[in-house]
Symmetry: C2
Subunit: 116 residues, 2 copies
Amino acid sequence: MPDFLFDKKLYYNPVEFAMDRIGGTWKMPILWRLKDRVMRYGELKKDIPHITHKMLTSQLRELEAEGFIDRKVYPVVPPKVEYSITERGLSAIPIIETIRNYGLQLMEEFNVNENH
Amino acid sequence: MPDFLFDKKLYYNPVEFAMDRIGGTWKMPILWRLKDRVMRYGELKKDIPHITHKMLTSQLRELEAEGFIDRKVYPVVPPKVEYSITERGLSAIPIIETIRNYGLQLMEEFNVNENH
DNA sequence: CTGGATCCGATTTGATACTG
DNA sequence: CAGTATCAAATCGGATCCAG
């Protein structure tokens, strides 16, 4: 597998390409929440623990720019913006589930419990 | 899914936990190469394009510390060190394949070809 | 041959202030 | 309510040097 360029960045393999699209700390949590319903900005902000305003905004912009989510602005005051998942975003859901299940398996192996 | 601590770091979900173990730019390429044979440090270095000495060393250390690979040192001069995959490392291979296939699918959708 | 340590620039992220 | 801009802190990664 040779290197390839996308959006001015050099990639070394398909795994790296995929993780650049839907990886990082926040993109999967966002897609996961949008998988079966439309959500407003404020809802996402409340629903995703620890995410900062800046990170939520930037990650939503990237997901939108690459076609994983749609953004619908209602011209009202105060502003209302709804985010929804696209076909492309939906196709990522099974991958997220696979990684999530693997993570749960690893957590057992490492004796990680959710009570600290 | 509540937060949990592991190795002094706070995690928000199982996906994040999994990707901290086998994610990043280099861990999957390393595991992938070790999946069906033992390799020496220099072999890995030659075989993984672009990886630097520092990154290869640090990623091998982390994978070893968390039980994904074994490190065998031969007491000879000059030094000879062999890296091999463990059971835990092998269990990551199907996940890597899944992500890889998804990456290839995305690359088609984005019209990424490997000739730049 | 393998690998540790250090320096330093680049990138990422959090906090904060401001806007329509 | 949703979003942008700015600055500072933290993290990451590359280059380089030294060592057994």
